[in-house]
């Protein structure tokens, strides 16, 4: 009896948890009302993929050191869920103020053409590039 009961509880918890991190509601909460959120492979300090690393470096170049990041390698449900959420097939994925901005190529493009400074401004972040001497910027 006790054993059966324990099993049920365990199953209930794991099923609830598994469907949670990949669900739209869960991801909504992760990204909404946050200036910058990155879904990546690895962590900002230990990226496990060159593209994820590139996104972190671009953000750091603009002085964005503090942002929420989620390691999809540690959560298979989130890894699939985020792809469905954005209808975007690859990781990393960058969000600003709840809106999906793009992956590595798009961040790199926006960095090169100056759009990133504008997009950061929209979410209340001043790019550090604006404060660098002109010859460096």
């Amino acid at each position: 009896m006790l054993r059966a009961h324990g099993l049920t509880v365990c199953r209930f918890l794991s099923a609830g948890y598994a469907s949670k991190t990949g669900s739209k509601e869960y991801i909504d909460k992760l990204v909404q009302n946050k200036p910058v959120v990155v879904f990546m492979k690895g962590t900002p300090d230990q990226p496990r993929c060159g593209f994820s690393n590139a996104v972190v470096q671009i953000l750091r170049f603009h002085g964005v050191d503090k942002f929420d990041s989620y390691n999809v390698l540690e959560d298979e449900d989130l890894r699939q869920g985020i792809k469905e959420y954005t209808n975007w097939p690859t990781i990393p994925q960058v969000f600003m103020d709840g809106e999906f901005v793009g992956g590595c190529d798009i961040m790199m493009d926006m960095h090169k053409n100056g759009e990133l400074i504008e997009e950061l401004k929209k979410v209340g972040v001043r790019s550090a590039l604006l404060d660098k001497p002109k010859e460096q910027a």
Binding site: N87, W88, P89, T90, F100, C104, I106, E115
Partner: protein, 111 residues
């Protein structure tokens, strides 16, 4: 004799099944990606590079297509590309995209 035949047939089937399985695991051949992109996006210039060391799951793609005309921001163009190769994307791990209109390409060549 009859038994032998059926065994052989079964073996053949197994082999076929294994090959199909392998081909999904092995990723996408560059040529099929090129063909699909050419057809779907009517590209005027296309460079597909396999960066995967042969496993076929990592590509760098440069596409010039009139279909990108008036499509902004870049993310929308990338979505068009993803859409054109939706099936293939399931087996592709990473894809680097550069998407230009013929006009933008001319500008790039001159600069």
């Amino acid at each position: 004799m009859v038994v032998d035949n059926s065994v052989q047939l079964r073996r053949g089937e197994h082999q076929a099944a294994r090959q199909t399985n392998n081909s999904t695991v092995m990723g996408i051949p560059k040529e099929s990606l090129e063909k699909k992109l050419k057809e779907e996006l009517e590209t005027v210039h296309l460079e597909v590079e396999d960066l995967s060391d042969g496993c076929g799951a990592k590509f760098q793609v440069f596409i010039v297509s009139p279909k990108f005309e008036g499509v902004k921001p870049t993310i929308k163009r990338h979505r068009m590309v993803h859409g054109a190769i939706e099936e293939e994307m399931k087996a592709i791990h990473a894809i680097q995209l550069k998407t230009l209109t013929p006009g933008e390409w001319e500008q790039l060549k001159q600069s």
